[in-house]
């Protein structure tokens, strides 16, 4: 798929834009032990929430990249005028965004888990929730970016639009990790996250494509 490979190539050429949200993720997480307490017991209870909130925020930072520069240099219009259906286009863009910003979170999260004294039993669950949850964040975020890309002050608005929609992912993912740390079974939460992923994959591209058409008006 041409759009996917182009976006990946662009990400490769603009490495700092890819690395910055990731560094942000790491730095936010390290703030918490300093701000609250380095005690293992405290960190352990907070770890799932901290990691997930930080993941949410760093996704938010990288979201704009999905359509903003394409909008500004006119290539978004070209993309929408191409024979390729806009939903497929959005899917390709979201996939590229996730590969560049969601997947690295997944790779770096175990390290942060160690920082925050997350028990080893909870690590697989942390990874699974990130694997299921971060694509949802990219999907839902795509709608938000598509809606705000035509606005001059889109950035702050984006977080207002998108964060409330992220709530279910946050609740279930952070909870699953916490429950796994307590040695509980978390299949229910994981199924729910999987359901959210399916739902967002089927509906978000439609909404984002419609939003893009309105934004380039």
């Amino acid at each position: 798929m041409a759009v996917l490979s182009r976006d990946l190539l662009l990400a490769l050429r603009r490495r700092s834009e890819v690395v910055n949200p990731l560094l942000f993720f790491v730095i936010v997480v390290t703030l918490f032990p300093l701000a609250i307490s380095p005690s293992q017991a405290v960190l352990q209870t907070l770890a799932p929430g901290i990691i997930w909130v930080a993941a949410l925020l760093s996704t938010l930072l990288s979201l704009e990249r999905m359509f903003r520069s394409d909008f500004e240099d006119g290539s978004l219009e070209q993309l929408l005028l191409s024979p390729c259906p806009p939903t497929i286009l959005v899917l390709a863009k979201v996939l590229a965004h996730w590969l560049v910003s969601g997947l690295p979170l997944l790779l770096i999260a175990p390290l942060l888990g160690v920082f925050l004294a997350l028990p080893t039993e909870a690590m697989p669950t942390l990874l699974i929730t990130l694997a299921l949850g971060t694509p949802v964040l990219s999907m839902v975020g795509a709608i938000g970016v598509a809606l705000t890309v035509g606005l001059r002050r889109g950035g702050a608005l984006l977080s207002l639009l998108v964060l409330p929609l992220y709530l279910p992912v946050l609740i279930f993912a952070a909870n699953a990790v916490a429950a796994a740390a307590d040695g509980l079974i978390v299949t229910g939460q994981l199924y729910f996250l999987g359901g959210l992923l399916l739902l967002s994959c089927s509906l978000a591209p439609l909404a984002a494509a419609a939003a893009l058409k309105i934004s380039i008006h």
Partner: protein, 204 residues
């Protein structure tokens, strides 16, 4: 081939134009004139389906362009104020991506298209080192790549040097004699025979 019926567009709460009818046949070049801000760009964007007009409809080969989007988008190329060139990609990569997006196979290779605009030396340079005029030429080279029959060009001569303007004018001529259609805005007088050259004046 291209027909607009009772077309009207608004920008914000301002009516730019309304009740506009036009009919463009194969082999004709329509040059749109008008003062700044009178809606030339909006008209062009409406004609290629980017902006939804407030009233009226646009027909391509007697079919509403919204009903049959994928066929129409195969037939149209729009080059607007922004070049749609990615700064980080080379001239060649930019063109190759444009080819990959279109459903038809190109008549010329991307390298040949660049050579046509005298950009052979810049083929592999990233677009951010190119000058504005060179970037414009890369964008215009897209016209050679897919056999779109309708060209919608918004100020294509901006930033071009004299020889590139000549190349572009020859391309317009060639396209019209091959039975293509062009809608163009330009403040520059385009030397074309009166038979194929039509003009539209938008007034506020």
């Amino acid at each position: 081939m291209l027909r607009a019926v009772d077309l009207g567009c608004e920008r914000g709460d301002r009516i730019l134009f309304s009740g506009l009818n036009l009919h463009l046949h194969a082999g004709e070049v329509l040059q749109v004139h008008g003062a700044n801000g009178c809606g030339k760009t909006t008209l062009l964007r409406a004609l290629c389906g980017l902006t939804r007009p407030a009233t009226g409809e646009i027909l391509w080969q007697e079919k509403d362009i919204r009903d049959d989007e994928s066929t129409f988008s195969d037939d149209v190329i729009h080059i607007g104020h922004h070049d749609g060139i990615k700064q980080e990609l080379s001239a060649l990569e930019n063109l190759r991506f444009a080819v990959a997006l279109s459903a038809k196979s190109p008549e010329l290779s991307a390298e040949q298209a660049l050579a046509h605009f005298g950009l052979t030396a810049q083929t592999h340079l990233p677009a951010y080192v190119l000058s504005a005029g060179q970037r414009r030429r890369v964008a215009l080279a897209r016209l050679l790549l897919n056999a779109a029959r309708l060209w919608v060009l918004d100020e294509p001569f901006t930033a071009l040097d004299q020889s590139s303007i000549g190349v572009m004018e020859a391309m317009l001529h060639q396209h019209a004699s091959n039975g293509g259609c062009v809608v163009i805005t330009s403040h520059h007088a385009i030397p074309l025979e009166p038979g194929i050259h039509r003009e539209l004046h938008l007034t506020t």
